[in-house]
């Protein structure tokens, strides 16, 4: 089974103080950067293009292609911004990577910056994870001391500084243009496009924005070559990636495997569902991707496979739910998240999430009225595709997919509270035994 795994990014996570530069160098760190600095920048872009690396933040846009959009004749400075605003419910791949091996990302930044002629790169770190930001800052300081950052890096003539910037705690800042606004010191709200960031992004200058995992993957591609990378994965989804499993599985965590692996295989790797329970539904890539059911266990987990069943690969964060779970409750929790995180800029997202939550609340409480499920779907239709950015699309995907697969359960909400149909303590992952011999958990 374990030969399904391809530990590349996580290979050094088990080493002593893996986050230190010394440890990283011992495990072969920065050999890729050394190699890249000897190549022409355009060649570095070419290798990443040939490798077929696609953005790991969810959208799957080819990374090398994105880099080639940067107009090199633009007189303004070019910027690389790394999106480390990992906030999607269920998603937990970038933070472990940054904690365990921040230098993997930083080496990737050195190479990528060199490729796009950028001399100041930014890492926008989610505001809530102060420990990650500190680790990154310490790592950047180490690199300055070691001559891997600053002027004339390793005698190559290439200058680079990296700024670690903490957000203030807003999901929307994971949207790349909202991230740029936030980085510039404004309220994070998505910007009107065009102009696209590649032309006028940060400080109205050409900017490339990539996910942590995408940039962290770059050193391995440079080191091992495009063919090596393209040899993994499926035809259109090359390489390996992190799959993050959470929920009702025996061993939740990160699994680094080639694209195209199936959920059935991942489930086996994680030890399967908790004992005497069975799978009810799961998300392929965080709560913004339409949920799937046991019938999708054998669909390849790549961009095309997920699209073929009406979902998305997203951030490859599998939230796994067994038969004890109320899908109404789960959907409500996700919707509450989106309502809280809607930036408020556009009408459908701002008002629509406000309404969805109220409809779902009464379905959860068994106080739904005849027709509420249709109304729920009607509201999602008024939101879907009509919003300013993709946040609202994610906010309705969980609702529409849940109703599609489990409509009767929503209709049960006309008469019966979800906590009666699905006693919440039964789906609690961590059961706390009480002194009176009873156990509690769940319903908060």
């Amino acid at each position: 089974m374990t030969d399904l795994l391809t530990p590349v990014l996580c290979e050094n996570w088990g080493t002593e103080k893996s986050w230190k530069l010394s440890a990283y160098l011992l495990s072969g760190g920065f050999s890729a950067a050394k190699k890249a600095l000897k190549l022409a920048p355009a060649d570095v872009v070419g290798i990443v293009k040939d490798a077929g690396l696609r953005g790991r933040g969810g959208a799957g846009f080819p990374t090398g292609l994105k880099w080639s959009f940067v107009p090199q004749d633009n007189p303004n400075p070019k910027y690389l911004v790394v999106n480390a605003d990992e906030s999607e419910p269920g998603t937990c791949k970038d933070m472990p990577l940054l904690l365990a091996s921040p230098h993997t990302l930083l080496e990737g930044i050195v190479i990528s910056s060199y490729a796009i002629n950028c001399h100041t790169a930014f890492v926008y770190v989610r505001g809530e994870v102060v420990h990650v930001a500190r680790r990154l800052q310490a790592a950047v300081a180490e690199l300055h001391e070691a001559g891997w950052l600053g002027k004339n890096i390793q005698g190559s003539g290439f200058d680079l500084d990296i700024v670690i910037h903490s957000g203030a705690g807003a999901y929307i800042c994971g949207e790349e243009t909202a991230l740029l606004d936030s980085l510039e010191g404004r309220r994070g709200q998505p910007r009107l496009r065009p102009p696209f960031p590649a032309v006028a992004g940060l400080y109205a200058s050409p900017t490339v924005i990539n996910n942590v995992e995408s940039i962290s993957t770059v050193p391995s591609i440079i080191k091992n070559g495009a063919e090596w990378f393209a040899g993994m994965g499926t035809e259109k989804s090359n390489g390996f990636t992190f799959y993050s499993l959470s929920g009702h599985v025996k061993r939740p965590g990160q699994f680094e495997a080639p694209l195209g692996i199936t959920f059935r295989q991942l489930l086996e790797l994680s030890g399967g569902m908790r004992d005497s329970h069975e799978l009810k539904f799961w998300t392929p890539g965080g709560s913004s991707t339409p949920i799937l059911t046991p019938e999708h266990l054998d669909v390849p987990l790549d961009y095309e496979g997920m699209a073929s069943v009406g979902s998305m690969l997203g951030t490859k964060a599998m939230q796994v739910f067994d038969e004890t779970t109320s899908v109404v409750r789960t959907t409500l929790r996700w919707s509450e998240f989106y309502k809280h995180e809607s930036c408020g800029k556009c009408t459908p997202c701002r008002e629509g999430t406000w309404w969805l939550v109220q409809l779902l609340r009464r379905l959860e409480a068994g106080e739904g009225q005849e027709g509420d499920v249709d109304k729920l779907l009607a509201v999602t239709e008024d939101i879907n595709g009509l919003s300013f950015c993709a946040l609202a699309g994610g906010a309705v995907a969980c609702v529409t997919s849940a109703v599609r697969h489990f409509r009767p359960e929503f209709e049960l909400g006309y008469t019966t509270p979800a906590w009666e149909s699905f006693p919440y303590e039964r789906s609690a992952v961590f059961i706390k035994d009480r002194p009176d011999g009873q156990s509690e958990g769940g319903r908060v």
């Binding site: 999430t353 309404w355 009509l386």
Partner: protein
Amino acid sequence: MSDIVASDLVTLTIDGIEVSVPKGTTIIRAAESIGIAIPRFCDHPLLDPRGSCRQCLVEIPDAGNGRGFPVPQTSCTMPVAPGMVVQTAASSEKAKRAQNGIMELLLINHPLDCPICDKGGECPLQNQALLAGRGESRFDAKKRRFPKPTSINGQLLLDRERCVLCARCTRFAQEIADDPYIALVERGALQQVGRVGEGPLRSYYLGNVVQICPVGAFTAKSYRFESRPFDLVSTDTTCEHCASGCSLRVDRRHGTVRRRLAGNNPSVNEEWNCDKGRFCFVYGRGADRLTHPLIRENGSLRPASWPEALAAAAAGLSKAEKSVGVLTGGRLTTENAYAYSKFARAVLGTNSIDFRSRPFSVEETDFLAAEVAGKEVGVSYGDLENASQVVLVGIEPEDESPMILLRLIKAVRKRGLKVVLVDFINTYGSKKLKARWIQCRPGEEAKALAQVELDEKSVILVGERAALSAGTLSAVAKLSAEAGASWAWIPRRAGDFGAVQAGCLPNVLPGGRPVTQSAARVDVAAAWEVDSLPGEIGLDAAAILAAAAEGDLAALVTAGIDPRDFADSHIARAALEQAFVVSLEPRLSQAASLADVVLPVALIEEQSGSFLNWEGRQSVVNQVVKGSVPSDLRVLSALADELGSPLGLKDAAAAAAELGELGVWEGSRAALSAVGEKQPGEGLILGSWRELFDAGSGADGEESLQTESFYPTAVMNPKTAAGHGFENGDRLVVSGPRGSITVPLLVYPDIVEDVIWASFNARGLPSHGEIGVVIGEPVNVGKEEAKV
């Protein structure tokens, strides 16, 4: 549109109709051009596209490249493309559905308080909900609530739960006025317009947000619950508060003006105005409003009938023979100014007439006669936008012509216009223009101006206070002529430019005709059907007042003047006390209360006529409400009849026609002689100007604008302050030969050394004239003695 060449046009199809529009036009504008209205909230033609309300969604089955968009797109952000096919709700079910959906969502959190909302009846949300909404809401859950209303400044109230978060107001504040005191704060459904930044909300423009708010979120205190839109009768007219010439829409109900809105005039004020123009219209409603004539008897004024008052006025003026001066202020329409000009010459037989109720110079008198009277202004608002650079000399546009500032902000923002500031201070207002500041002390403007490189597309704007800086006005004319640049003189008051053209100056007749040229006099005398006109240059305002105060001038006819405004208010008062004064005023002003005969005249809102703004553009003043007293022109006619030499002006239209027929003088004029500079005095020099919200009587009755944001101050450079031992916030006594004012000190880096800016005419404080100093002169400054 006429200067758009065909190759710049893009042809597309909207709802099956082919239309060609300039490249870069958005779909929503292209649709408007063929009469297709797409509902919208955040879209505003003068604001940057935002695409956030999503109301204007349309279907685009073909983007011009053969491929369509899978989902509806916002027509307010999408530029047209050749061959594009657009379907609005009129022809596309998908677009209609999308628009209906957005409308329903917009309404779920909007309160149903239309019956008590000021906007009800003229509300874009209400109108478009009827157009694009469903009859009944499916929303039966909880609405978002906020305490209501919150107060933003003296006038603005914000009902947050009515807000649809279109950000028109915040974009206006940022993009148009550059007064970023409001912004969207918080997020999600709790997002709201909030006050941002520290310190006082110092904006002259925020009243505009009431007008552009597409719902009733922003309302004005002065109009709140005052009227329903359908009970109002609207009149298009022109603002009387400054020389910007803003078009207004004035709404009245039951014969009383309830509110004023900025008129839509793309070539002047676009769709904006300032808060003074918007809110200051109740000055005629105080207890001092005159409805009948007054006559001085035993030292005090008593009511009199019109025949009695006219007889008394005529008797006094006859007795004075030609020892009469005429002083007209800035409130007069061009037609009224013309009536005074004609009355002075044809009836009283004097050239001693002057509209300048402020400090001025002989250089300015010559400059106005040589360069302004009867001449075309070479600059328009549009030229400001297209200039290579705009040089500001002795003018603070934000205070002196707020619309000029808005145009300049627009040009700086949209096309990086270069602005050069030749002045002693770089204010917050000037900083909005990112101006290059050429520093000079008051009085040294001419020398500083010589440092500016001018080209043919340069524009110089010179303000009224340049008159007090010797050599500046002549330098403006000379330097711009040499470089082929354009310039404009920006007077402060609405009637000033018209007064120059009408001949309310001692040295020119109407149309710029020099009084000293017999051919010019013959022209006018023939038109006026009089035998001859006086041929000597008359006394200017300062000389008239001085002579009257000394008893050398027997009588005065005054209109729209205030002793506070003159260079020496004490002399002005002495003159009004000494001479036989006939005062024509709508209100019992300070000048009127010193007069011997007071003849009431109509307010601007009660009469018709026109103003000429700084561009020389004629803008129409229409009668808004019916008054009980006649206009200046009618009263002067009656007085002329009483004096036995009829004025021959039936009404304003007749005056306008006569002035138009006279035309402008095309003969020679006295050349403007170069005037040498005067060395500024030693010590602390006073620099100042008339602020927009000062003690001017035009703002009387509108207390809302007299807020703590506009408190009087003195401003000094840190070094100068330290040199005198002053600190920020110290209460300073600024004194001249005749008095002093006590104001707090603001230490500000961007003012030249050894100059003190002090409020000129602040409410509740003596004016510069009462202190007895004019700008460019030294003042004494000390700390206020601690009160025991």
